[in-house]
Subunit: 153 residues, 2 copies
DNA sequence: ATCGCTGCAAAAATTTTGCAGGTAA
DNA sequence: TTACCTGCAAAATTTTTGCAGCGAT
């Protein structure tokens, strides 16, 4: 149980595999979609739609297309959506086979993000589900604090 | 360690105590602020700004005022802000002395909310903070699932 | 009598949608 | 060819802000 150091296995799923997942679901492999997936592939941390838009080669696609694509990719389980408290959704690629379950440690000053693999024991979640009669329980957990660099004024 | 059943002690801080907290900080006790606090007091679960607005007696105050008040109350530690995934912040009163730390179990179908007092061991958070050199660590944890009523189609 | 607070209106920021044309399969 | 996708533009949401006047202290 330790902090994930973004292993290659997590980030290096080739673009071809990603687009293959689109094909398998009869979704078209278009320029914008490839550019979005490639952008996400090259970033270790969740990106907002605007950040994806800005990171893409010369206005390669419309912002509305990014919004639509993120909905599609989320529904397909290819990306995961996070909310860090400013009113902007952030997205991160989910590797094939991986359920993408992990958390983040966010600096409240500079917004630096560290990925965290730790999680609490599964029994806690099961107990909460059972006690309240809920099924299909999941959770979202994010940590906030002041990063080392922001501690020295 | 069990689900909180909204005890009186949690919800019955009198309005006068709440406004007293404003006075202590040299904040004015106005009509809108009293109406907002009273509305929050009467609801066991987090409310959006719009819900507060709608729940208030006959348009008793402007929506912009609610936004401004929630910022003030949040900064004073009198309310806590939550995000459940739709892009709308929700607010809940924090009792005096209480740190307001608790979580929610949200039905993904009907949005019913159950308050959860359980939490994971503090050591996990401390370990994460230490390992990454972060200070003043906090966390946000929300559970999602399908509530009993929504399980029968 | 202050100065903070509010309402109103306008603006900003984020996200969604309609439509006509373009393109992957 | 034929759906699916995209760009563009407009709209819908959520939140913030400017300003003049009102009101708590």
């Amino acid at each position: 149980m330790k902090t994930r150091l973004h292993s290659k296995t997590t980030r290096q799923e080739p673009l071809a595999d990603l687009t293959g997942r689109l094909r398998k679901r009869s979704r078209r492999v278009t320029g914008p979609r490839q550019a979005i997936l490639e952008t996400l592939r090259q970033h270790a941390h969740p990106l907002t739609n605007k950040e994806i838009f800005a990171a893409m080669p010369k206005g390669n696609c419309d912002l509305a297309t990014i919004y639509r694509s993120m909905h599609l990719l989320e529904e397909m389980g290819m990306v995961k959506r996070f909310h860090f408290g400013d009113g902007a959704a952030r997205f991160e690629l989910v590797s094939e086979g991986d359920d993408g379950h992990h958390h983040h440690l966010v600096c409240v000053r500079c917004s630096q993000i560290v990925e965290i693999e730790d999680c609490f024991p599964h029994e806690l979640e099961e107990a909460i589900a059972a006690r309240n009669g809920f099924k299909a329980i999941t959770h979202k957990l994010e940590f906030f604090g002041v990063c080392p660099r922001c501690q020295s004024p």
